[in-house]
């Protein structure tokens, strides 16, 4: 199954091209933005995406794989509709981040890194999200949920389950 941008993604990619020099070096800068657009469209980065992005940016697939696997936010396998990312680094860990992730795992019946069978949820344990003043923090897809509590987590999962 091959991958290609939708018209919406392609239009955004073309807009992004204007941010960089037109030569080969400038085109390589587009690898990361192009992977972001791909992930938004496809949910994760697979071999087809890599080939496509390499074609768009005039780079080798091997280079794109290297980039995709270097950065933790590019999903190398499919994730659920709601991606729950729990910070358990210093301040979040001190203030209940570990208990929150354990609670979410047992409630959804999956391990850290796992996805529910209905593909609704994936749970990741992540490193510092840079919001330690409102710890513990859970990132739900693109949005930070700060000063998280068990009650808030439960109602969040309820809301996302329906």
């Amino acid at each position: 199954m091959s991958f290609a941008y939708t018209d919406v993604s392609m239009k955004e990619f073309q807009e992004l091209q204007k941010n960089f020099p037109g030569d080969a070096k400038g085109k390589m800068s587009l690898v990361i933005p192009a992977l972001w657009l791909s992930q938004r469209q496809n949910g994760w980065i697979n071999g087809d995406v890599v080939e496509y992005v390499a074609g768009l940016t005039g780079t080798e697939p091997l280079h794109v794989w290297g980039v995709a696997t270097f950065y933790s936010m590019f999903n190398k396998e499919p994730v659920g509709k709601t991606l729950l990312q729990f910070c358990t680094n210093i301040s979040c860990g001190l203030l209940g981040g570990n208990e929150l992730i354990q609670h979410a795992c047992s409630r959804l019946g999956i391990e850290k890194g796992g996805t529910t069978q209905d593909k609704k949820f994936t749970i990741f344990e992540v490193e510092c999200l840079g919001a330690c003043g409102t710890a513990p923090v859970v990132q739900v897809n693109d949005t930070y949920h700060e000063n998280m509590t068990m009650e808030k987590l439960d109602s969040l999962i309820d809301q996302m389950s329906s």
Binding site: K25, L30, V67, T88, I90, G93, V126, A135, Y144
Partner: protein
Amino acid sequence: MPEKRIILDKIEDKHSPNIDFYRGNGGYEALKKALTQMSPSQILDEMKASNLRGRGGAGFPVGVKWSFINRTFPGPKYLICNADEGEPGTFKDREILQKKPHIMIEGMIIGAYVMGLDAGYIYIRGEFYEPIQAVDKAIREAYDAGILGKDIMGSGFSFDLYTYRGAGAYICGEESSLINSLEGKRGLPRLRPPFPAQVGLYGRPSTVNNVESFSAVPSIINNGGKWYAGLGTPKSGGTKLFSISGHVNRPGVYEIPMGTPWTELFNDMAGGVKDGKKLKAVIPGGSSTPVLRPEELDGMTMDYESVQSKGSMLGSGAVIVLDETTDMVKLLYRILHFYAHESCGQCTPCREGCDWYYDIISRIRHGKGRLEDLDLFERLAKNIGPNTICAFGDAFTTPALSFTRKFRDEFVEYIKNGNK
């Protein structure tokens, strides 16, 4: 000394991210002054006089860094804003990005004018999706107002500015790996020399500064370098944003003059240890700085020299408070897990060393440690930090050594009696 809000002035207002609100409160006046009344070399003199030191963690004087660029060097030159805020404990830049992006943009345009730079990129960590939206909106507003783009404010000076979204890598906060990431590559630090001022983005002269550093620039232009320097101590000028978190009653970002006593930040502003518990330790400048015991905090003031005189570092101003219930073994285990996860893998001593450190702390934490393990930390450290391209090696050996030296009893207890 109370909080002194210069960068954070009026940040609590919900309109604070908007250009109209910013301009209504004196925003972009510094840029106008810089472009119409001052030459680049005059601005550089003010920047040097301000004693502003880089707010990303290393504390290198900003005026000196700006003077490294040869502004008449032909061809494109770049300005980069480091918004890859990732040092555990640091969350000050997010505040600016989300709530007052124009102050950073104003500082960047002034910097570009001084150094004769053509275009700028704000490299924002990938997790900061909402801050990126806020900065993108601010950039659009600035273009619409003739503050970015061609012939800014009719001055003849032109500058373009873009955001770039990172994708999850702590190491990209290091300026040369940030540049590699911005070039669409893996974020591996570069050997220096050559420094970015000679060979930076796309091999061109470039300057990288932190979000907070740029945000301090407008007030220096408005009030003069001497005024800014006078706010702080003789060697650390101005105000600084401190992120205080952990076991503390009022965590948050506080802007205070350099040299403010620790007790004022900790007790008066942050409200002391959470729930009336006793203080066990403080990490004063982010996860990679040496931990301090309560008695070491006596007489400490919040500036580069004072924190250094106590044997630690001010770093990015990320203060993490640990109360008496904190298990130092488990905490170090978590910290070393972080570093083992984040090493870029380029230099063997770091790549192997951080896994080795994590193995050691894992066996101690799980009750399988040996007394020799504590010496092993010491011995390995000598062969890691000095043999790597960037400071990441020191960043993980430093907390390991300071934790095990200062709280040795707790580690020995785990080694002798296991995890209870």
